[in-house]
Assembly symmetry: C2
């Protein structure tokens, strides 16, 4: 029953750190002002599988599916052998977690994967071979030219033609969380004035490294407050009251993999190999939402008032930009919310005229940065 213990603890972390501070989860809107696709359960609805269901994103897949009334006729809860046999309650029904095997995808229309790159590499093609459409949250296939990399609000056209019910499997990749959150805000501006260069610095939450990292941050914080040495199992250094360069491996060009995802995925999603991007990715002691400081250089002029209007009207985006009250987006405020929040929208004083803007973006890493985006992709398959 270890997974239950873990999930319960995870839940408690949420209750303590997030829900109790922003109101009880049930009463708290998941979104600021969103347009949801509401569907009732249908007999002809697709059969689903959630791969990596016991992880932080896996659990959020279930939460989002439920919140959005995603239609399904059946749902398989898949995880590693270690988690098989555990019980999960979903929409009032008890499910037993099944071991992920090649046979598990028999009859599955849509499989939501979030079990790490190696699992996706091994089982993604198997699922496709069985006719499943795989929405993969790992980085395994993101840069594969045959696999669409999709943010539904940004480039839905990339997956046109892929539909449930055609009897044909397919792979669709969910972008990296930092890329999704950045491009939710940058794309509407890009569509108006064309971004030529983007300098991004991130403030990334523990959740990006999984539920165990969130737990370690809580544990370390308690230890440090008690004057004890911090337990460092997930990261190789103290995280509580500290920050550090993202833990992704550093490549030969000095960028870490997380940073190069922002560089390369932006080009693929915007279908524009000319856009210049640099990024510095930093892990900060925040629980589950990322923040990003984004400096934009445009081809065409775009003044800050127009930019605010564009962002206010952008799908999945909310503008929080009250200069008098010094109220701007924070990770805590967007935690457990669907929309990405943008603020600090201002003309960049280091660029000439109106060709540059600075913005600050926050988005829930587990939700829009992972599970929600994947479920939105799945909604487009129907």
């Amino acid at each position: 029953m270890a997974a239950f213990t873990r999930l319960t603890y995870h839940q408690r972390v949420h209750n303590n750190l997030l829900s109790s501070l922003t109101g009880p989860a049930a009463a708290r809107p998941r979104t600021f002002a969103t347009t949801r696709i509401r569907m009732s359960l249908q007999e002809s609805a697709p059969s689903l599988a959630v791969v990596g269901v016991t992880g932080a994103v896996g659990q959020e897949f279930l939460s989002v599916l439920s919140d959005r009334d995603f239609p399904y006729c059946s749902i398989k809860m898949l995880a590693s052998k270690r988690s098989a046999g555990k019980h999960i309650t979903f929409q009032g029904r008890d499910y037993v977690v099944e071991e992920l095997t090649p046979d598990a995808f028999q009859g599955v229309d849509i499989a939501l994967f979030s079990a790490g790159g190696s699992i996706s590499k091994e089982f993604g093609p198997i699922a496709v071979g069985k006719g499943s459409i795989v929405v993969d949250n790992s980085s395994a296939f993101r840069m594969d030219e045959n696999v669409p990399l999709v943010i539904p609000e940004v480039n839905p056209e990339a997956m046109s033609g892929i539909k449930v019910g055609k009897g044909k499997g397919a792979l669709i990749a969910n972008p990296n969380c930092s890329t999704i959150i950045c491009l939710m805000a940058a794309t509407p501006l890009h569509q108006h004035a064309k971004v030529v260069r983007m300098v991004v610095s991130t403030y990334q939450a523990a959740s990006g490294a999984g539920a165990a990292a969130m737990e370690e941050l809580v544990l370390q914080t308690r230890e440090v407050l008690e004057g004890k040495p911090p337990t460092c199992n997930i990261f190789n250094q103290q995280y509580a009251f500290n920050l550090f360069s993202h833990n992704a491996p550093v490549l030969s060009n000095g960028y870490n993999e997380e940073e190069m995802k922002l560089v390369n995925e932006t080009r693929k999603i915007w279908n524009n190999n000319d856009v210049k991007v640099t990024a510095t990715c930093i892990r900060v002691p925040v629980m589950r939402a990322h923040a990003e400081s984004v400096n934009l250089q445009f081809e065409k002029p775009l003044d800050e008032e127009r930019a605010k209007d564009i962002l206010k009207n952008a799908p999945g985006v909310v503008v929080i930009d009250d200069r008098a009250a010094n109220r701007f987006p924070t990770p805590l405020e967007v935690s457990n919310k669907d929309d990405v929040a943008v603020g600090r929208i201002r003309r960049d004083v280091s660029q000439d005229g109106d060709t540059g803007l600075d913005i600050f973006v926050c988005g829930d890493q587990i939700r829009k940065g992972a599970a929600l985006n994947a479920v939105q992709i799945a909604e487009m398959l129907l």
Copy 2:
């Protein structure tokens, strides 16, 4: 005895959060590899005053003066009426805190101010009138064209001619902490390749808002871990496990004052009105050291290996840049240290050739960002 309680608590915070994690303070080197000016006590040494001695920076003034064997024949401990009468032990002697009055500067050669801008504006000119040389840590006089704004390693020439013993008072301004930490790393590169544009995103510690803010971060963190609502006295929102746009007032151009300090002070310190700077300043739940992600655009090519060499040889700078071990500067590592640490030194892939670099800088906000820099300025007066 309220101040003693506060200082004791402050000390406890340090012990718990910093010292116990990086070794006891006595055993911990204050610097990575620094060149200190060591002076023995002299009869002819200057008389000192510390204004705002009970604050976080005031306390650090004393610590730095002691660590660096700063010569003095006498030292006045000055603070508000509220703190007057309290006792401070310094270098084995008991001092009574005196109320800050115009007469307090009689016979004072060097006055180190850190009591906020309004105190500096009121008492700085009075002290100068009495013949004191004021090293002011507030923003009151930084942009005054008659007042040098000095980082000793960067622009010592700006204060040439100001010396103790000439019987003439003077004002010297200590730059903003974020500016000092940024320019400690950027200047050596600027001297080689000329920075034309700089995009800075900061990760600023609680200490920049004073000892009470550090205490509130600890208190809030305890409260949040216990599931209680956080006490928000210093900031208007939750700080524990969160981050937010810097609390400085936002100006009409959308930048906050902290950001414009980086823009304007850089120009003054570099004596170069053409350098283009933009900054986004963010408060993160870290105790006492700032981090900054700095994107640099140069006039002349500067490759990353040369940049590393330059930084390794720069005074007051230490390079921490181990890509294989993913080891780079962290705020915790530089806490209570003199040197500014630089890492993540890499060619910016968004710029052509070798005309761009990304770097990540960490520095102790209270020490090099405030007290140490001021004491170094004072050393140059002797």
